[in-house]
């Protein structure tokens, strides 16, 4: 709410639309956010998505992409900002088409863009079987659209498709005799395609994202927030609810209680985004392994009151700081009177 504004002004616009859409906001360990349509089986978000190769944009533009993608997803009208968007939105078939159309226009307009997008499409095709079907229909639409456009534009797009197709066979831009300089983005995309083909483990390990369902927040009355799916989230993270609750309360500087349906009732007004940020911090602090970044860890009490995280993936063990509430100021004289 008001607390948030100064921190991330760019997110402000999307917040309201994101909060109650049926898409699933997915938090990743590196702090990026992906949106998927809730129509898919929700469990899929946890596992089958993880092994997918990251969108190229992740490599091209680091993490910055994630935010615009969530924004664009929130309001469909907004044109995509880059190719990376498409990948993250692939699941949403209907919406995706729209996006694709827009993307196509953008591609045709300037010559440099298609190259990047073409490379992207290719990577998609190879990595995701599911996508293929969708891709086919889109390609048709895409080409149909292109035909309507003027010759000059189609040329550019053709070039893009040419570039797209022959990366492996070594023709076109990739041909041996080809003297044209290959743009950096294309080379980069080729690198990632080849890497994912030849050495999938390698390309996955660094960017394998960890996904949990978004926290569901509801307002209870005027000054209480209900965190509904805390049990689910905790189960995913293999942490006790008490631990996460304690962390939430310490970070948010409030307190609260658990209601009959094991939902968490937090005093104060918080929005999903805020809770999400805190949960993300929690994941970074208490869930992911610092050495291999795997979320497959266990938290247990070691000797002398310290908590230790043991990684099931690489076997490393580290201690984590205890949750501390810290200083909390006295607010209002009346509160003080009450105790």
């Amino acid at each position: 709410m008001d607390n948030e504004v100064q921190d991330q002004p760019e997110r402000k616009a999307s917040r309201k639309s994101v909060a109650f859409t049926d898409e699933q906001l997915v938090v990743e360990t590196d702090g990026s956010v992906t949106i998927m349509s809730a129509a898919e089986e929700p469990k899929e978000t946890a596992q089958s998505h993880t092994p997918r190769t990251p969108p190229l944009s992740a490599a091209l533009e680091a993490f910055a992409v994630a935010d615009p993608s969530s924004q664009a997803a929130a309001d469909e009208a907004a044109p995509p900002e880059d190719g990376g968007l498409d990948l993250s939105l692939l699941k949403k078939k209907k919406k995706k088409k729209k996006v694709e159309g827009l993307d196509g226009d953008a591609e045709a307009e300037d010559g440099a863009a298609p190259a990047e997008d073409g490379g992207l499409d290719l990577t998609m095709k190879k990595k995701k079987k599911k996508v293929k079907k969708v891709e086919g229909t889109e390609e048709d639409e895409f080409t149909a659209k292109l035909k309507q456009l003027e010759v000059k534009d189609t040329e550019g797009a053709e070039e893009a498709q040419q570039e797209e197709g022959d990366m492996e066979t070594g023709t076109g831009v990739w041909g041996h005799s080809e003297s044209k300089t290959i743009p950096y983005t294309l080379l980069l995309s080729r690198f990632f395609t080849v890497l994912s083909q030849k050495n999938p483990d390698h390309s996955l390990s660094g960017t394998k994202s960890y996904k949990i369902p978004p926290p569901q927040c509801m307002r209870e009355g005027n000054r209480k927030t209900v965190f509904a799916n805390i049990a689910d989230i905790c189960k995913r993270m293999k942490r006790t609810e008490e631990h996460l609750t304690a962390y939430l309360f310490a970070e948010l500087g409030t307190n609260g209680s658990v209601d009959g349906n094991r939902r968490l009732v937090i005093k104060g007004r918080f929005q999903q985004k805020q809770i999400e940020n805190v949960v993300r911090k929690y994941i970074i602090e208490y869930v992911t392994c610092k050495t291999c970044r795997s979320p497959d860890t266990e938290l247990n009490k070691g000797e002398n009151r310290l908590y230790f995280i043991t990684c099931n993936n690489c076997g490393s063990r580290r201690s984590v700081t205890a949750i501390k509430t810290g200083f909390s100021a006295q607010i209002g004289k009346r509160k003080k009177m009450q105790g």
């Binding site: 008001d2 607390n3 100064q6 921190d7 310490a250 948010l252 810290g326 100021a329 607010i331 209002g332």
Partner: protein
């Protein structure tokens, strides 16, 4: 420990003594700055800054904050947390910027500062 010369080995700190994690922790925490936020009624909030290094005068910092951020604030002496600066409104970002800024601010190490709250 191992690099220390022999005579230093008998320093009052016994490395093999039972680790008293409480006292050990507090010393570490002291030079760590926490910036927290507390919700008040309505859309109001309160920013607290704890653990500022002793070499800085909290009063001077406070007056600067008040002037710069156009907010009221005060400093409180807390038993556990020491001098605490309280500011009205959400000033976390600004405070962090000031603490980290090398030219106009205190030029502290960002690693020693944690911003809490959502």
């Amino acid at each position: 420990m191992s690099i220390q010369p022999a005579d230093r080995c008998f320093s009052p700190i016994d490395p093999f003594a039972e680790a008293d994690d409480d006292t050990g922790d507090i010393k570490k925490v002291e030079n760590h700055i926490h910036i927290r936020i507390q919700q008040r009624n309505g859309r109001k909030s309160l920013t607290t800054v704890t653990g500022l290094p002793a070499k800085f005068d909290p009063g001077k910092i406070l007056t600067f904050f008040r002037k710069e951020f156009a907010c009221n604030g005060n400093k409180v002496n807390d038993e556990k947390a020491g001098e605490v600066i309280q500011l009205q409104g959400d000033q976390r970002k600004k405070v962090l910027d000031f603490l980290v800024d090398k030219k106009a601010g205190l030029g502290l190490n960002p690693d020693n500062i944690t911003v809490h709250g959502a």
